[in-house]
């Protein structure tokens, strides 16, 4: 897919995110929308995957450490052909495979269950270390929120990744500057994030997390870096693509009403 096609795909992802959260009547639009471009690049361009064979041993792994952005991952998986797009309507409903937070045993294409912040990045470390032990070339990607970086476990994992020279691991931080209680900077400052990651032994890349080409380049650079893991700090806008959701902490975990969804979908058309 070329850049224009990827941009169009990201838009589709965003439409599906809005539609499924509206149908569910609950969920997390803000952090799903901020992650949409990065997930598009991973799922439609950079990751080695076989949707028709989700457990293919040659696949790259993706761990959504910020599991509340499940709608973004579900949209990517459905649009990539892992399961029917219509199933997205079942999000968060009783007996649905599409649980509020991703469950690996239920959904094809989900390798790791998440939802409790801070744990996904450790699981990703385990995957990357295990692949190293087996001398396998698969790459592991994990995405975390910037608020999530306040969890101590995140730093335990990052220390581990650098210590074991996990250059098959790329940690992407969705740096949208908001968490539930407000601005990350005001709630519990994590800056200077780049310097911290650098001091922890990471190859640190800064990108505009909504610029498809910039994301592509960063992921390529991460893959060629030898001897240490890469952290991509993706500067993003929470709620990106829907004007009234952008940069609003209030849209972290609130579903749009039908008329709001209609407006959102018009903007995303």
């Amino acid at each position: 897919m070329d850049t224009l096609e990827l941009q169009a795909k990201a838009k589709e992802l965003r439409q599906e995110i809005i539609k499924m959260i509206t149908a569910a009547g609950s969920g997390h639009p803000g952090g799903s929308l901020s992650a949409a471009d990065i997930l598009t690049v991973l799922y439609f361009d950079k990751m080695n995957l076989r949707p028709e064979e989700p457990d293919w041993t040659g696949r790259d792994y993706f761990v959504l450490s910020k599991g509340h952005a499940a709608p973004a991952q579900y949209a990517a998986l459905a649009l990539r052909g892992y399961f029917p797009v219509e199933e997205l309507n079942g999000l968060r409903k009783l007996h649905s495979r599409l649980q509020g937070h991703p469950v690996s045993s239920k959904v094809p294409g989900i390798d790791v269950s998440t939802g409790s912040l801070g744990q996904g990045v450790s699981v990703a470390c385990g995957l990357a270390k295990g692949l190293k032990i087996d001398k396998l070339p698969n790459h592991v990607y994990t995405m975390l929120g910037d608020g999530e970086c306040q969890e101590g476990q995140v730093w335990e994992a990052l220390m581990f990744a650098a210590h074991y020279q996990l250059d098959n691991l790329t940690v992407i931080i969705d740096h949208n500057r908001l968490q539930i209680d407000g601005q990350v900077e005001k709630v519990m400052n994590i800056e200077p994030l780049d310097k911290k990651l650098d001091a922890f032994g990471f190859n640190v890349l800064l990108v505009n997390g909504h610029d498809i080409e910039a994301i592509q380049n960063a992921i390529d650079k991460a893959k060629t870096c030898q001897g240490r893991p890469t952290a991509i700090i993706a500067n993003t806008i929470k709620g990106r693509g829907v004007s009234f959701m952008e940069n609003q902490a209030g849209w972290h975990g609130t579903a749009p009403k039908p008329e709001e969804a209609e407006q959102a979908l018009q903007e995303l058309a």
């Binding site: 968060r92 649905s96 649980q99 509020g100 409790s116 608020g147 999530e148 539930i180 209680d181 519990m188």
Partner: protein
């Protein structure tokens, strides 16, 4: 019908009321203040509100430091993260040194709803009950929560206060007096006794009502304190009724059901059946759908009462 209020709402309101009189009160949260309702306290008393960010282990252990200075500490997150993520901090830094910290955890049980199993704590009471020095309280409605929060603010021991997300009706009578460690007989009976806590108390009373229509005279006891259990009351009602059922929005392992079973087995064995989550994870769904799906219903309680009576 009374206005429905979630126990977490009552918690936030009471903290805000206490802010003016209890100058020693400090409240902590881990990026969920709008959900746990500690934001109500933060609004009126920002200088004694501490948001630690998404760092539950740090929140619990910072609380230990504050309590060491003699502060009355309430700290809040969702039950799954407060108890789950920070268990060992609670055990070793709060309970072992007997610090007066109340871990007021909200969004407990299945009625978290759509967020699904990762967010539905069904084992938190079991975990907290197993820790020495810990008091465990599960209020049934807003008024009971208000009284519990006021008493816990003065309580010189570690405590776990389990609160819900869902708005619930006022269940307890207007003259109800909550007392830590005491259960209350809300309805007397002789054929069987139901021990209940939290949002299942209302359903237990409804079940007793249904059973009465069938000529079965069932007592209902509110058991807000799971630990220390009011063993005296449990045994007295057991002897009076000869069959018992426990009802809770928690796993049947380790919660009220287990506490009552332990007491009865050692002191006055009678047939006992437990209504709760049958050792399985929850899932996404609407709160009421989930209660039905997992058998936390009036019908199931009534059926279990009959079964217990049959085993006499």
């Amino acid at each position: 019908m009374s206005e429905k209020i979630a126990t977490r709402e009552a918690y936030g309101q009471t903290l805000a009321e206490l802010a003016a009189t209890d100058k020693n009160l400090v409240v902590l949260d881990a990026d969920l203040s709008k959900s746990t309702k500690t934001c109500d306290f933060a609004k009126v008393c920002p200088e004694r509100f501490i948001d630690v960010g998404i760092a539950e282990q740090n929140m619990i252990t910072v609380s230990a430091g504050l309590a060491t200075l003699g502060k009355h500490v309430f700290c809040s997150s969702f039950a799954i993260f407060a108890v789950g993520r920070a268990f060992e901090q609670i055990r070793n830094s709060i309970a072992y040194p007997q610090l007066p910290v109340t871990i007021a955890a909200t969004h407990a049980g299945l009625t978290v709803g759509e967020d699904g199993a990762t967010h539905q704590a069904i084992e938190d009471v079991a975990i907290m009950r197993a820790v020495p020095n810990m008091t465990v309280i599960v209020p049934a409605d807003a008024e009971e929560t208000r009284q519990a929060v006021r008493q816990l603010a003065e309580y010189p021991h570690p405590a776990y206060l389990r609160l819900g997300r869902l708005a619930v009706e006022q269940i307890l009578p207007a003259d109800y007096q909550f007392q830590i460690g005491k259960g209350t007989v809300l309805r007397d009976g002789k054929d069987a006794v139901i021990f209940a806590c939290g949002l299942m108390l209302g359903k237990a009373l409804q079940a007793a009502e249904q059973l009465a229509a069938e000529g079965i005279n069932t007592a209902v006891v509110n058991m807000p304190t799971i630990k220390p259990l009011d063993s005296e009351l449990v045994c007295r009602m057991a002897k009076q009724c000869g069959a018992a059922v426990t009802v809770e929005e928690h796993s049947i392992i380790g919660g009220l059901g287990s506490a009552v079973a332990e007491t009865l087995t050692e002191n006055c064995p009678i047939p006992l059946l437990r209504v709760g989550v049958n050792d399985q994870f929850g899932q996404s769904g609407k709160p009421d759908e989930l209660l039905t799906e997992y058998g936390l219903t009036v019908e199931n309680i009534a059926a279990k009462v009959k079964e217990a009576i049959n085993r006499k």
